[in-house]
Assembly symmetry: none
Homo-oligomer: 431 residues x 2
């Protein structure tokens, strides 16, 4: 095999398959591979997906071989006529296909273990370009391929995650050559109750594009994520030191709006905070119909702080289960400050918990009016310090409005958990 000794600084992640380009299947492999590459200190600089088309496949390999140091490809190694990775890699590296004797034995062995004869169609899976190496696959009939195009390494793995993940971890990862001493480290800081533009204003020059660490933001469904990335020739200790410093700078500017470091969700942050306080939480949901409880219980171990909830979708149940007064419903309507307040307070009583979050809103598409357009959502937070309500005006379709309502509710709970802290501290100071 023509051996490349190029250091792997920049990688491309290539996915193959009609089902991906046509939008029938969601590509989750590229994200997974990219995370692993980042862990190794190799930077993925492009993801690309092409159909089961030999010309397109060869073209993308030749292009990427000019742009990056290493290509990781997934898919196209099956036994059928639309699996073209073997041919594409052979053509792009100016090589011919040969049958790999060991691969053929391994494929036959897989069928023997299943007490079956190898169907003749599977024989093509033992083919590899003559100067390439086969990568053994104990989990399936598709061996991987390690080839070199020009001076760029290409690692081809099968698409099914159950085969890709172990092959990448056990066989491909040890062959990668990140620059010695070069590190890429990332830290994530989740923020709520504050918009992306307000964050940008507060962070100011911290977000300059030339800085290292580099700070970027992404907004999604009411949460803004600050990503801090440091890269360069440095030790892990130095990198973490720089990230710590950047995080302190960000937290200094954002205060309680920064709810978590790492991939922790807002729900997990609230659950952890309630665990510390040994206080229980319940929810009373109308327009979200269970999504808020679902978000809280997505956190493993949430049963330590989450007692349960009421889906008071009909007005009748708002009265019967949460104890909302009929007069309140009639006078102010189900989507109102007063009903949100009674839902939260009534929820504490009905569920037996210190904290209760209520959500009542108009998710659409129908039910809006001039005074209360679709997207009007009232949130109530009842806690040991009393009850507060907040109004949100969201825009968008039914499901995003509901998703946003959940984030807004958890964000409001988070902020209240901390503002009640501030209140308690002040009260203690006064004593």
């Amino acid at each position: 095999m023509t051996q490349s000794q190029k250091v792997h600084r920049r990688a491309a992640v290539l996915s193959i398959g009609d089902e991906l380009t046509l939008g029938q299947t969601l590509d989750t492999n590229s994200k997974w591979v990219s995370e692993r590459l980042m862990d190794l200190g190799i930077k993925p600089v492009e993801h690309v997906t092409v159909p089961d088309d030999l010309d397109a496949h060869i073209r993308v390999l030749l292009r990427l071989a000019h742009e990056v140091d290493v290509i990781i490809s997934t898919g196209g190694l099956g036994p059928t006529a639309d699996d073209l990775t073997r041919q594409a890699v052979a053509a792009a590296s100016g090589d011919v296909l040969v049958e790999d004797v060991i691969s053929l034995e391994e494929i036959k062995a897989i069928f023997t273990n299943r007490k079956r004869e190898m169907p003749e169609v599977n024989r093509v899976q033992a083919l590899r370009p003559s100067r390439a190496r086969a990568i053994s696959n104990p989990h399936g009939t598709a061996p991987g391929i390690h080839a070199v195009i020009g001076d760029v390494d290409v690692f081809c793995a099968p698409g099914p995650p159950g085969e890709l993940f172990p092959m990448f971890r056990e066989r491909i990862s040890p062959l990668l050559r990140p620059e010695p001493g070069r590190l890429v480290r990332t830290r994530i800081i989740g923020c709520c109750g504050i918009g992306e533009s307000e964050i940008a204003t507060r962070l100011g020059s911290l977000m300059d594009r030339e800085r290292n660490p580099l700070v970027g933001t992404t907004a999604s469904g009411g949460v803004v994520t600050c990503r801090v990335r440091v890269e360069g020739m440095m030790s892990g200790l130095e990198a973490e030191g720089l990230l710590d410093e950047a995080e302190r700078g960000i937290r200094g500017k954002l205060g309680v709006h920064a709810f978590a470091t790492g991939h922790n969700s807002l729900a997990r942050a609230c659950v952890e905070e309630l665990k510390k306080r040994k206080q229980m939480l319940g929810v009373v949901e109308s327009c979200t119909g269970g999504m808020l409880g679902a978000a809280v219980t997505e956190v493993a171990g949430s049963s330590a702080v989450f007692v349960g909830g009421l889906q008071t979708y009909s007005n009748g149940l708002k009265e019967k289960l949460a104890g909302v007064k009929r007069e309140t419903l009639e006078k102010f309507g189900a989507v109102s400050r007063e009903v949100a307040r009674e839902m939260a307070v009534g929820g504490c009583a009905a569920l037996g918990c210190e904290w209760c979050v209520s959500v009542t809103g108009i998710a659409g598409p129908d039910g809006g009016s001039v005074e209360k357009p679709v997207g009007t959502v009232w949130i109530g937070i009842a806690g040991p310090h009393g009850v507060v309500t907040r109004r949100f005006a969201m825009s968008g379709e039914r499901q995003p409005v509901r998703q946003w309502s959940v984030t807004a509710a958890l964000g409001a709970l988070w902020m209240d958990l901390h503002q009640s802290d501030v209140k308690m501290l002040r009260e203690q100071e006064r004593r």
Copy 2:
């Protein structure tokens, strides 16, 4: 604006963002956009993701402008320094950025509606290349851009799905020009209570790869989707005729297991069925913590049949709210046929509804035992005909087990709605 009149046969879908290339965020937009393009008869031939890097962004636009007829890009339209789509499109089309007066007014109006002043950083979002058009965004502060590079149309939409989806459907889709006469039509048939291999066996030669329409299946979280795709130079009427014929063939083989045609969810199928019957539904959830109610209320208009639900996460609430007997909990445990039964029956009484679905299970990671491992889920369906319970043994992590439980519960409800039909029919026949 330099107007292109090129027919849009082949499309590229471009996603922008460090968080995507670095593997921090999963790109779901490209799949969504590709599905919509296929619906229109335009074939997506490449997905590509590049980081927030101006040079890479310009390079990919120039390359794609030589390879496809239309580019749909998402992301990079935010207000911060790492949002570079505006500059990249301007550079790639040899243009300069100008401030769009109407966009600026629309952005200001969004802040006015939120009772806030527009922060100065948001002003950049009103920029567009001088020869391009801004695409109005009623759901956020990022207008889209319609530019032309060479003779290729480029449509840039914001990344958040709540803004992308309506912008694509309402503003971009009408500007696309699929080849007249050429059609790609897809029909989706949702199936529950039956596995993918059993479906393949029943459909037999209907699934041959050379057929037009082509039938494929995908299994995901308990639902198997049969996709029927017809393509060619034909009229809409001819295409629909072929799809009708294929659907009749499939439904003939699958019976009540085929719950819906189109992208209708299992939840919508149940809601529609209950509407026909004028019967009300409630839910009592333990391990799913609200996800079942959330799935039902995701269906617009579900309030006509969904009364509400109880999230009886703690055993105390199973007793207090759903009327489960303490002896039953003590004798059989919370995850048992008996408790699922009492939750469903008690739910009908507490919520005042004809149908009630209960879910109690062990989602993990903790709480499993030898007799009841993680993934053990009991589902109860109480209805006018009595109550039935079903046990499911699922495998996987917490969130997939919960998601699967919701599908299993809705699938069980769907099957029961139809089996009760059969029962009622039989009873009528006997009279």
